[in-house]
Symmetry: C2
C-alpha cells in the first residue's frame, strides 16, 4: 500500500481507532505506586486481548510485579524478524490539581487527546498496533513480528530486565523497533541516534527526631533543610558543571560526523523559551545546548521536601529533609561507577549533627549511540521521507529508555528509535496530550517501515 | 490560702477540671488556615461563656478575622491591676499521620494529656482560669483582673496588634501576666527574662512553566530545586553564622549580670540530645548554646518544597521551588531592617533563568529583656520558691511572643512571663502533650502569685 491508500484507510477508521485509544488511556496504570497494581494488570489484560483481536498470538508473561504483554505473529522466513517494544505504564499524575481535565478521562480538545500516557507511551504504542492491524487486514505484513509491552518502564523496567536472560529465545529478533521518542520540530520526522543512560537515588537527612519550635531551638538545633541546601549546592560548580569527583569519568566525545549531523538541526533558543517558559540556561556554562543534552551527562534534582509548605507560616525546624536525584549518562560512562561517585560525594559531606540515609539507588542502564551509516537507519530515513517532503533529522536525545540497551543485547536486534512526540505533549507533566495529527504520522510511518522490510 | 489548701482543692476538683480542659482542647482552633475560622469562633464563644461562669464579665471583641475574648473582674482599688494574656488558637497539625491519637481528641496516657494545644497555649491558659476560679470561690482574689485571650498568636497576632490603640483604655493595667513559656528542667520553676522577636517570609523560585522530563531537559533547563539549594546555602557562612549583610546590625550584647544569671543553669548537651534526638550543633560555631539561643538572632528554614517527593522516582526538573523562612531577633535589632536585609540578599542572588517572588513578609515584633532586679520579678520568685523547694531559674528564652511587647507598651504594664512547658511537651509538633503535674504546678503558682499582689 502506498501512503495515499494508508491515509484513506486511517480516515475511514479514525473514529473507531480514537475510541479504542481512549479505552487504553482510561486505565490508571501508574507503575511507581503499588496502589495501582491491579489497574496495571487490567491494562495488560486488555492489551493482550486487543493484540489477539488484530491477529497475534498473545500472552501475559508473569513477573514478581507487573505482567509483561508478549505477542507474536509468524511471517516469511526470508524477512527479518521485528521486535516491537513499548510500555503500558505511565508516570504519576501529581500535582493532580494542575490537570484541566482528569488524567484518566481522555478528552479531545482542538485536535489533541489529553490524558496521562496520551503520548508516553500509550499513544505511540497504539498507532503501531493500528498500523500492524491495517497491514494484516490488507495482506501487507510479511515480516515476522514480535511485540513486547511492559508495565514498569517509568519505574526502571526491573522486572523485564531480570527476565531478559530467561526470555532470550522468545525475544530473538533482527530489528528492535521502539516508538518512544519525539521529533526535533512538530512535523519534522526524526531518527534518534542516541539515548542517555540513567541512575537515580533518594537522599534523606535527619536532624532532630521531631519538628522543633524555631524559637526555642533556632541557633541551637541543626536544621536538615539548611543541611540539604548545603549538600545540593555542593553537588555543582559555579559554572553549572557537576562538582562530584569522578562524575565525568569515561565520557565519550562526539565524532566530527555526529557533530555535523547534530548541527543540521540548529538549537532554537527562542522556540525553547516559548515552549518551556525559560531560557536553556541550565547545565554547564559556555557549552552549546545540543551538546549539553545530547553528548554530556547531567545531574538533576527531581524533588526536595522538608518541613512546612502549607498556607501561612509554621515556625519550625524540620526534623528531616528528603531529596530525589537522578543523573543522565552518555556512552562509556559506567553507571554503577557514577552512582558510587555521587553517593561517595554525599557521604563525605554530611552536615554536622545529621544522619544520612541513601536509598532507592538504581541503575537504569548506560547511554548508547547508533552508527549513522547503518542500512536500517537508511531504510527508516526513506520511509520518513516518503511520509514527509521535508528532510529527516538525526537527534542525539537526552532521555533514557534503559531497557532498550538490554533488549538490544538480549535479542541480538539492531535498535531503531523513531517517534512522533513533541515538547508540547508535556509528557511526565500535568495535561499530557498527543495530537491526532501526530498519531496519524506515527501510524503511516510504522506501516510504511514494516512494509518495506 | 496556703499551698496545702490549694493542693487539696485541686485534688478534689481534678476530675471536673480535666473534663473542662478536654472540652477546650476539642476545638480545632488552627489560626493559620481559614478553613478553621468557624472552629476558632466556637472556641472563643465557649471561653467567654466559661469566664462568665467563674465570675467575670466577658465579651467577644470582634476583629476582621478571629474574635478576641476579653473579660474583667473588678477588685480593690488599692491593688495593682493584672492583665492576663493568652491565646486560644493552635498550630497546624501536619504531619497528621504522625499523631498517635487524633490531635483534637484529647487523650490521657501516663499522666499526660495528648492534644494539639495541650500545652501551647490552652493548657497554660486553662490552669490560670482554674486558679482564678478557686480564688474567687474562696474570696482570695483582691486585685482587679482583666483577661485577654486572642485567636491569632500562632499566625502573627495581626488583629490584636491592629486594635491595641483602639482598646488602650480597656487594656490599662499594672502587671501583664503571660503563661506561655517553659521551665529549664522538668520541675524547676523558671522566670523568662527575655524573648526573641520574629520576622518571616516565603520565597518562591520559578524556572520552567511546567515540570520537565529530566532526560529531555537535563543540562538544558534551569532547575529551581538546584537554584533554591544555592540560595539557601548562600544564606549561611561556613561557620554556621548568617551570611546576610546587615543581619547582625544592632544586636545588644548581654550584660555581665545577665550572663551570670544565665550561667546558673548550665546547658546540658546530653539532656538536649536525649530530648531532641541530636546534638545542639546548629547556629554559629564556637559559641555557647545558651548564648546562641538567648542572646543571638537566628535565621531558620521552616520548610522547602520542590518537585516530586512520593514513592519511587519521578525523573523531572521541577517547575518551581518554595521556601518558608523565619528569623528570631534579639533586642535592638530593627525587625523591618532585618527583613529588608534578608530580602535584599535573596534578590541579589537570584539564580540564572529563574523568577523570584517573595511573599508573606511579616514582622512579628522586636525582642525584649526584663530587668533582673525588678520587685515584680522578686515577688514571682517568692511564689515559685513557695511552690518548690528548689531554686528558681532565670531564662533568656529564644522563642517569641510578639504581642507581649505591644501589650506591655499599650497597657503600661510590666510583663511577667512564667510558664510550665517543657521540651517533652512537643509543642508545634505531632503528639503535643502537657502533664497533669505541669498543669497543677501552673495552677498553684498562678493562685499564689495572684493572692500575693
Amino acid at each position: 500500500m502506498n501512503i495515499t491508500e494508508l491515509e484513506s484507510i486511517f480516515a475511514s477508521e479514525q473514529k473507531r481507532i480514537l475510541t479504542e485509544w481512549q479505552t487504553f488511556l482510561k486505565f490508571p496504570s501508574i507503575s511507581a505506586d503499588p496502589l495501582y497494581n491491579s489497574n496495571c494488570r487490567d491494562c495488560a489484560e486488555w492489551l493482550a486481548s486487543h493484540l489477539q483481536g488484530i491477529g497475534f498470538e498473545s500472552e501475559l508473561l508473569e513477573t514478581s510485579t507487573k505482567p509483561v504483554v508478549f505477542a507474536e505473529r509468524k511471517g516469511s522466513p526470508d524477512k527479518p524478524t521485528v521486535l516491537f517494544y513499548g510500555h503500558y505504564d505511565v508516570q504519576p499524575i501529581d500535582p493532580e490539581n494542575a490537570w484541566e481535565t482528569p488524567p484518566f478521562a481522555p478528552t479531545l480538545r482542538n485536535g489533541r487527546l489529553y490524558a496521562r500516557g496520551a503520548e508516553d507511551n500509550k499513544g505511540q504504542v497504539f498507532y503501531t498496533l493500528k498500523a500492524l492491524e491495517t497491514l494484516i487486514q490488507n495482506d501487507g505484513l510479511d515480516a515476522p513480528v514480535k511485540v513486547i509491552i511492559e508495565g514498569e518502564e517509568e519505574y526502571g523496567s526491573a522486572a523485564l530486565t531480570e527476565h531478559l536472560d530467561a526470555w532470550a529465545d522468545r525475544l530473538k529478533a533482527d530489528i528492535l523497533m521502539v516508538h518512544d521518542t519525539g521529533t526535533v520540530r512538530a512535523g519534522n520526522p526524526t531518527i534518534v541516534m542516541g539515548l542517555r543512560g540513567i541512575v537515580h537515588l533518594t537522599v534523606e537527612l535527619e536532624g532532630p527526631d521531631h519538628d522543633l519550635h524555631s524559637g526555642v531551638h533556632g541557633g541551637l538545633a541543626p536544621n536538615p533543610a539548611q543541611g540539604m541546601g548545603e549538600l545540593l549546592s555542593g553537588l555543582f560548580n559555579a559554572d553549572g558543571s557537576v562538582a562530584v569527583s569522578g562524575f565525568y569519568d569515561g565520557v565519550r566525545a562526539p565524532t566530527e560526523r555526529e557533530l555535523t549531523l547534530a548541527s543540521e538541526t540548529p538549537f532554537d533558543a527562542e522556540a525553547y523559551k516559548h515552549l518551556v517558559g525559560t531560557s536553556p540556561d541550565g547545565g554547564k556554562e559556555n557549552t552549546p545546548p545540543a551538546e549539553r543534552v545530547g553528548f554530556l551527562p547531567s545531574l538533576d534534582i527531581n524533588g526536595v521536601h522538608s518541613g512546612y509548605g502549607g498556607a501561612g507560616m509554621k515556625t519550625i525546624i524540620p526534623s528531616k529533609a528528603i531529596t530525589k536525584l537522578s543523573a543522565r549518562l552518555v556512552p562509556d560512562q559506567d553507571p554503577a561507577g557514577v552512582l558510587e561517585s555521587i553517593t561517595g560525594h554525599i557521604y563525605r559531606n554530611v552536615p554536622k549533627g545529621m544522619r544520612l540515609t541513601i536509598s532507592d539507588q538504581g541503575v537504569g542502564g548506560p547511554g548508547f549511540r547508533l552508527f549513522p551509516e547503518s542500512p536500517l537507519v537508511r531504510k527508516a530515513q526513506a520511509a520518513l521521507e516518503d511520509l514527509n517532503a521535508g528532510s529527516v533529522a538525526y537527534l542525539w536525545e537526552g532521555a533514557s529508555i534503559p531497557i532498550v540497551t538490554g533488549l538490544a543485547a538480549t535479542s541480538g536486534a539492531e535498535p531503531l528509535l523513531v517517534g512522533f512526540g513533541h515538547e508540547e505533549d508535556r509528557i511526565h507533566a500535568p495535561n499530557e496530550s498527543f495530537s491526532i495529527e501526530q498519531f496519524k504520522s506515527g501510524y503511516l510511518y510504522a506501516a510504511l517501515m514494516l512494509q518495506s522490510l
